[in-house]
Symmetry: C2
């Protein structure tokens, strides 16, 4: 396909494909058609074909997509082919839950550092990691950690984001219910549980 800008929506779906393909791989299936994959994800087959075709021709006509190598291609596209280290900011209840969250490993994420500002928590363990003082985020640059997960109250989130950006962080997953202002070169994805819940009664 001749070059066209890849839609953000396509990028957003790539992790879905990767997770589904990982499951299919575990089940021992070697190839999968766009129809089968679409059924699992409740999408339409042409959507999947078009999405994948933005990055090349991975499939075989008459057969489908090879499960293992397509998954690997997606990992390469998303830069998940190398393990990604992430810092977790906030060792409260939400931070603790995230540290234990099993879903990250499929994508090769490793929570390599945990920070908090509560002196009582510093030095304690969260899983196998030691909680460090928030001031130590400046060391992220040297430790080659470019990703951060913000699990702290809204009031502290912007100031903390500023520090993270200064420490060379390039991507932030923000779990506080607030908007973060960062330089354009830094990518922020926000998850706001209350806002997600907020639309439900409308549809009920």
């Amino acid at each position: 396909m001749k070059y066209r800008k890849i839609p953000d929506e396509t990028i957003r779906r790539m992790p879905m494909y990767l997770r589904a393909l990982s499951l299919v791989e575990q089940e021992g299936q070697q190839t999968i058609s766009s129809r089968q994959l679409a059924e699992r994800l409740h999408l339409k087959p042409p959507q999947i074909r078009k999405d994948l075709s933005y990055f090349g021709a991975f499939g075989t006509r008459g057969i489908g997509y090879p499960v293992v190598s397509t998954a690997q291609q997606i990992r390469t596209i998303l830069r998940l082919d190398v393990p990604q280290k992430a810092a977790l900011i906030g060792a409260g209840q939400l931070g603790t839950a995230i540290a234990a969250y099993p879903g990250f490993s499929v994508f090769g994420f490793d929570i390599a550092a945990v920070f908090d500002n509560d002196p009582a928590k510093i030095g304690k363990h969260i899983g196998r990691r030691v909680i460090e003082h928030i001031d130590a985020v400046d060391s992220l640059e040297d430790r080659a950690i470019r990703l951060a997960i913000l699990a702290i109250p809204s009031e502290a989130a912007q100031a903390c984001a500023d520090r993270l950006v200064r420490a060379g962080v390039k991507g932030i997953l923000n779990l506080a219910p607030c908007y973060l202002v960062v330089p354009k070169r830094v990518k922020v994805v926000s998850i706001d549980m209350a806002m997600a819940l907020g639309v439900l009664p409308y549809y009920m």
Copy 2:
């Protein structure tokens, strides 16, 4: 404006507007223009005007939107003008974090019940609520609880969703990294933290 289908994207932004207006109200400002609101939310002014205009003409030309009454209108639109009771399924780390999450109250949500399947947890407290056995979800119908937050492992999520639907639940916020199959009359919103994190390296 003559009737047109209201875009899902518009609905998705309404809770953003409501949260922002609540903050503006606290700051004591009485009216706000689409430009000021757009600046806070990093949207464009016409977007906000069009979104609100789907539901009527709330603003005053030359002045802007009255903060308090527009917020109240949005609550009515989203059915958040009456307190919404929700059940929390799963009293693990994530469930505990959600029970303590301060963001829900702005929208009038009240976590009115907590369930778990671990006998060791039944009867214990989580905040001011007593953890009930998962079998008690059948009582949600009688307790007029129509919303549920699923904070349990993926493997158990579908079976649990089936039970919730049978118990009359009409909306589910799913935090497990899996797709849920439910009847069309039931609305599911899923939050998958790993998938959200999964796109970040691509943009970095």
